[in-house]
Amino acid sequence: MATSPKLDSKIPDGPLDQKWTKYRSTVALVNPANKRNLEVIVVGSGLAGASAAASLAEMGYKVKVFCFQDSPRRAHSIAAQGGINAAKNYQNDGDSIYRLFYDTIKGGDYRSREANVHRLSEVSGSIIDQCVAQGVPFAREYGGLLSNRSFGGTQVQRTFYAAGQTGQQLLLGAYSALQRQVGMGAVKLYARHEMLDVVNIDGKCQGIIARHSVTGQLERHFGHAVLLCTGGYGNVFFLSTNAMGSNVTAAWKAHKKGAFFSNPCYTQIHPTCIPVSGEHQSKLTLMSESLRNDGRIWVPKNKADAEAIRAGKLDPNNLKEDDRDYYLERRYPAFGNLVPRDVASRAAKERCDAGFGVNGTGQAVYLDFAFNMKYKYGKIEATKKGIENPTEAQLDEFGHAVIKEKYGNLFDMYAQITGVDPYKNPMQIYPAVHYTMGGLWVDYNLMTTVPGLYALGEANFSDHGANRLGASALMQGLADGYFVIPYTIGSYLSKEISTKAISLDHEAFVKAEQDVQERINKLLSIKGTKTVDYFHKRLGKVIWDKCGMARNAEGLKWAIEEVRRIREEFWKDVRVPGEANEFNPELEKAGRVADFIELGELMCKDALERNESCGGHFREEYQAADGEAERDDENFAYVAAWELKEVGNWELHKEELVYENIKIAKRSYK
């Protein structure tokens, strides 16, 4: 297959491990005097946005940052728990830039770009250096050195962490760097502002329309370049581990203004989340993958036991070792409980569908710490204390303290939400939507198909292929913001030095603002009978059922029609209370759900087009006899990039994925 002429990935020539070095040394620069005259708009203030904004301001660019939350520190990166990968090889366990690169490509099921992933690997070490310099309090060993742990899909310990709050600590580091620039006047901050359109002039993105959430005022902002660092679209499912406000709106508006959307069907279903408890549920909570270092996943071997547990007649703690099925250890002995997320999620679904699920709904498996708590940590501690024959109670006590130190906040959170003590009972978990690998198509420079419009972090599609490995989202967000965009933006802005700031009265700004205003007026004027959440829940159920952990052609075709019906009904019957010119969270939500509905259709279309199973995209028609996914490299080793013609009508462009350094192979964790 040939790559579409509309998709120039701009991957530099030369050997893989020299591409980035050479690029950095030869990319066009902007001199300091000119930087002061160049304005950059950053939308979103998570890891990618905050790090990009701080770095660009430090370099001398004039930066404006927009976030819909009341403070940039609230961005959803804050909720990342487990850690951040870096190829430091501090543990002397054979890690290297190449190995991180290889693990990421393989983990992504051979559906990501070699050059981008290698660059990510190369800069990973600098991220840790930068964060430590900022005062990010990573976990440390007694000698004062940094501590590491393991994550899924790897056999080395390369994950840096700060208890179960790594995202929080990294974001607060980036936020402090950002606020320092705000204090110095180099960044202007627009909190409680939601971007509602991009403005293209002369074929380039030159500004945005934003709504101030408190007053409802629409504002026009000019920029020589616009960076969308707006996260993923997991909330299309209604129930996900995303924050309530996480949305696709900024990326979707860009898509409607010419930016291609890539691989929307690649969504990550995280295996270890707290199961749904009832119909009132507004979101799902992740239990970090780091727990799989010490938690063992199991269901009963016999259906009768599973039924007894579901009926509350059997305490799982009393089920004999021989009667438990540690199905990940059984199916994937090499990686065991640390297989990648897509594999672990499907395996859980398989067991539950087969009738071995363990909670009232049958949609849960156990994540059990008892064994490692007692016989790993308890024994080590007993040995340390010189106790030769510790009692069970002692082992329990000693192990408890270790587990508390490692995962205390996660255990507390679990107890808080479920009302069950996870130190005494195995956790119940089930897969839930967590991350989206798809996003705006970008080239090597992180520029979308619209000149001057960039996408960073989860908002782009570039590095994780069809499945992201744990602890790699933080790495990618910060890589893009701290170490990639500061270089690559020069290749564009160096040609924009003589572009004067465009008047906000330019017809393109006026027209874009009018369109935004009309859409708001329309939403408010429908005054229908159903709430925004009603439509969102309906959409979420369709996408979860038909475009979730398992998909098939028939279901997807039905889903496309159903999503269209939802769209039609939404625009006829939604009820949005309040006014345009006031603080109106329901109005904001309505706009976001309208965009999710349009995206939902494209997700199903993309999933239907991809006649193979890879990573998070599992098509039931394409599986081996043992239930493992079957990729089709001959026909589908490409990036799907969708161009919107009009709502509900897209043209597919393909970027061929060329593997020059890695031998493309069946992904096996056995």
Binding site: E58, Q69, S126, Q169, E582
Partner: protein, 258 residues
């Protein structure tokens, strides 16, 4: 509305309504029947809002985002306590099982001069951002860092710094304080950086600038009632305030030592 436990309760919500910062507010009463005890407090508000919208009324505005206790956005003053009756949790992690059948629950916004009401239960906490901008950072531009393991940090110091850094910036400390003081918030950031070698260079300036900004924003003084520590959902210790005071006195006395 029953969850997995199948248990429900009836409660009465008395909630603060205020159109914007300039208008006067008042309480509004809403009976809530058949509330699942497995619901979170905010999910109970989702149900209330759903009903209000369907009845053609204005839903209650409140701030919330991650709903897992880490973003710091949710901010309800419940029965006279920031984040409600449970120790160590944010509003979003409070569940209805913490209430009894028949309870009346009074819900207000954070009340503090430095946190003006935006609408109903949402307040403006941008003062916190400005305090951080005044000095809550280490001045290190991207790309200037040396190898991470070349800075050795004793585990205890790293752990203590982490405990201070766990602050989520929700403002419960301010809401809990009769003086509307932001000392716990400020001290957490000052402590984190004072405990780490990376923070030493700017140690004096940082504390002076941050305290100065805190005063300018209109936060009150600390009179050691420790209400902030008692209500902090992240267990930020009062010891941080002691450290802030030491840092401040030391920096003030030696400000001209350079």
């Amino acid at each position: 509305m029953a969850g997995t436990s199948g248990k429900t309760i009836n409660v009465t919500i008395k909630v603060w309504r205020q159109k914007n910062k300039n208008q006067k507010g008042q309480f509004e009463t809403h009976p809530m029947k058949g509330v699942s005890v497995d619901m979170s407090f905010l999910e109970m508000f989702d149900v209330l809002n759903d009903r209000l919208i369907t009845e053609g009324k204005d839903p209650v505005a409140f701030d919330h985002d991650c709903r897992e206790g880490i973003c710091g956005m949710c901010s309800m003053y419940i029965n006279g306590r920031p984040h409600g009756p449970k120790q160590g949790v944010t509003t979003c992690q409070l569940h209805m099982r913490s209430f009894k059948d028949g309870d009346t629950i009074v819900v207000e916004p954070w009340r503090s001069a430095a946190f003006p009401v935006v609408k109903d239960l949402a307040v403006d906490r941008s003062a916190f951002d400005r305090i951080i901008a005044s000095g809550g950072f280490v001045s290190v531009n991207t790309g200037n860092a040396r190898d991470a393991n070349s800075i050795l940090i004793p585990k205890d110091d790293a752990d203590q710094a982490f405990n201070a850094a766990a602050c989520i910036g929700c403002g419960a400390c301010v809401a809990a304080c009769k003086n509307g003081s932001a000392m716990l918030f400020v001290s957490a950031k000052v402590s984190q950086l004072a405990l780490l070698p990376q923070g030493q260079i700017e140690r004096d300036e940082r504390v002076l600038n941050m305290v100065n900004q805190m005063d300018e924003e209109g936060f009150g003084n600390c009179t050691n009632t420790a209400a902030c520590e008692a209500e902090c959902p992240k267990g930020i210790s009062l010891e941080n305030i002691a450290r802030l005071n030491r840092e401040y006195i030391s920096a003030s006395n030696f400000a001209n030592r350079k």
